[in-house]
Amino acid sequence: MNAPGGFGGAPRVVELRDIRKTFNVYRRRGRIRRERSQVDAVAGISFTIERGEMVGYVGPNGAGKSTTVKMLTGILVPSSGFVRVLDFEPTRQRVDLARRIGVVFGQRTQLWWDLPLRDSFELLRHIYRIPPDVYDRNLAEFGEVLDLEPFIDTPVRQLSLGQRMRGDLAAALLHAPEILFLDEPTIGLDVVAKARIREFLARINQERRTTILLTTHDMDDIERLCKRMLVIDHGRVIYDGDLATVKARYGADSVLVVDLEEPAPPIEVDGATVERVDGPRQWLRFRREQMSAAALIAAVAAKASVRDLAISDPDIEDVVRRIYGSA
């Protein structure tokens, strides 16, 4: 079916043109009346993805990320627009497409809840009609890289979140899909688990040229995995490009919060501006690209006695706000 390490076929694996999705939302007014309003979850999105890309899809909650992914995988029908995945139309060719893609939802599992992990894999082998040699090879490889052996015979309901996510990833890739759609795969995981998952995804993308669309809230996911980033807000793509450019152009400020031994006038340090002073506490804004946190802390410590400090980094909302603000 699909030989590992390279697929023949069109270079363009995902194509969206002016995709829209409008939902009817009903609200109860009084005892019987219902008021209907329309919500544009997706208001005209266009982009293409080439084979082998690893693309990050980011945006605040409610921006339309999940809706887009649902339209790409055939779960949802677009209100209008053109969508092709692997040359299939997800709406009408759902089953054919399903055979060639893998989907992982971060918050829900694709596995069978009360069966051992191994049994889920077996069932998937039959559902996707995976040839025995492909199945064995994949199972062995994923089992080793994701370290599934210790819990492969445990019922899924007894697995920890990290173990379950590893199981879900393996399950989604058993049939060697050409594209992998991931919806918040690292949500709720600890640092070690996240690192392991990211490593695995990078490897899959490089070794098998599996195209990956990764929806996430976590900027670290993007930083470590994706060269290309799609930023979506209010149902529209407001940025499509590589990460380095985003940071350089729209990089948001980090904030260093210092608790001094005693109240002092605003500290002056090159590369940082004092945004707020409240007694012994001061908030300093700076750009990580221009000055490292360590350097700033050293500079501040040289000018005043620091009792405690904390650093907050910009989150995706900040970045999006900046991009949106300048759009």
């Binding site: 999705k21 939902f23 009817n24 809706t67 649902k70 995988t73 055939g74 779960i75 949802l76 029908v77 709406t91 759902r94 089953v95 054919d96 399903a98 055979r99 893609i101 989907v103 939802f105 829900r108 694709q110 069978w112 009360d114 069966l115 049994d119 069932l123 039959h126 559902i127 996707y128 009609r129």
Partner: protein, 267 residues
């Protein structure tokens, strides 16, 4: 094609295996299901304590209807165990997963669970039916045997079709759940007694519009050699298989339209 059926069989068997994990509870519920349905039949016995003929039908003849209905309905109910949970499946987002797999949605939902405890209920219906067979007066001919066989198969098919059609409501609204019960479980109650005891409008709506009259009443008129006080054409007594196929086709169409609606409106 064959491999597809094989996949569905595997999915169903995995559910069966999962149920056997809870052996004691399973046994209790098996017995419970049997008792529950037996207690319902007692109502029929109480009725016949006072009379010998209900609307012209004797106890074994009513038992013939009651047993065939209960037996085939519980069989359909067993196949449709998971279908009943469709509102929960939709609410929890599990149906989205169903849509990402390279299998039909209806097959996946049906094989999502198979409740073998219903066999207890089926057994009870079967016993009542066997009692009836032993006590009614039937002039057996090859044609009658054929009609009896097709009656049972058609009954199960019609009930399954009604289950699918009614439960499709879940894709449209979460609230109207119980309306489905009126026609599934209500359908069983309706077919446990001779059709002509019901008022004209009820007969027309539940007997012919939702073609429950074809489940067992009409074929029984032929098998048991009984007259029809409602004077329906004799040909109807042989049309159960045709009606069953039609019901399944309509149910399948309703399902498809409903899934399409779900995919357009999301959750």
């Amino acid at each position: 094609m064959a491999s597809r059926a094989g996949v569905y069989r595997r999915l169903a068997m995995s559910r069966v295996r999962a149920h056997f994990e809870y052996r004691v509870s399973f046994a209790l519920q098996f017995i419970g299901a049997f008792l529950l349905n037996f207690l319902e039949f007692i109502a029929v016995l109480v009725i016949f304590h006072h009379i010998s003929f209900l609307a012209g039908w004797s106890l074994p003849e009513v038992a013939f209807l009651y047993g065939s209905s209960a037996f085939m309905f519980k069989f359909a109910d067993m196949l449709m165990t998971n279908m009943d949970r469709l509102p929960t499946i939709i609410r929890m987002g599990t149906f989205d997963q169903v849509l990402t797999r390279p299998l039909g949605t209806l097959g996946q939902v049906m094989t999502g669970d198979v409740d073998l405890r219903q066999i207890g209920a089926m057994t009870q219906g079967c016993l009542v039916f066997l009692y009836a067979l032993g006590h009614v007066h039937i002039e057996w001919t090859p044609e009658r045997v054929a009609v009896l066989g097709s009656m049972l198969v058609s009954a199960a098919a019609i009930f399954c079709g009604i289950f699918v059609a009614m439960n499709s409501i879940a894709f449209w609204t979460t609230d109207a759940r119980e309306v489905a019960n009126s026609f599934t479980y209500g359908g069983q109650a309706f077919t446990e007694y001779p059709l002509h005891i019901f008022g004209v409008w009820m007969r027309r709506l539940m007997g012919y519009l939702i073609p429950l009259a074809f489940v067992n009443y009409l074929p029984s008129l032929y098998i048991l050699g009984k007259g029809d006080p409602t004077h329906t054409p004799v040909i109807l007594r042989f049309l159960s298989p045709v009606v069953a196929v039609a019901v399944l086709a309509v149910a399948g169409a309703i399902w498809r339209v409903s899934v399409r609606h779900y995919r357009s409106t999301g959750s």
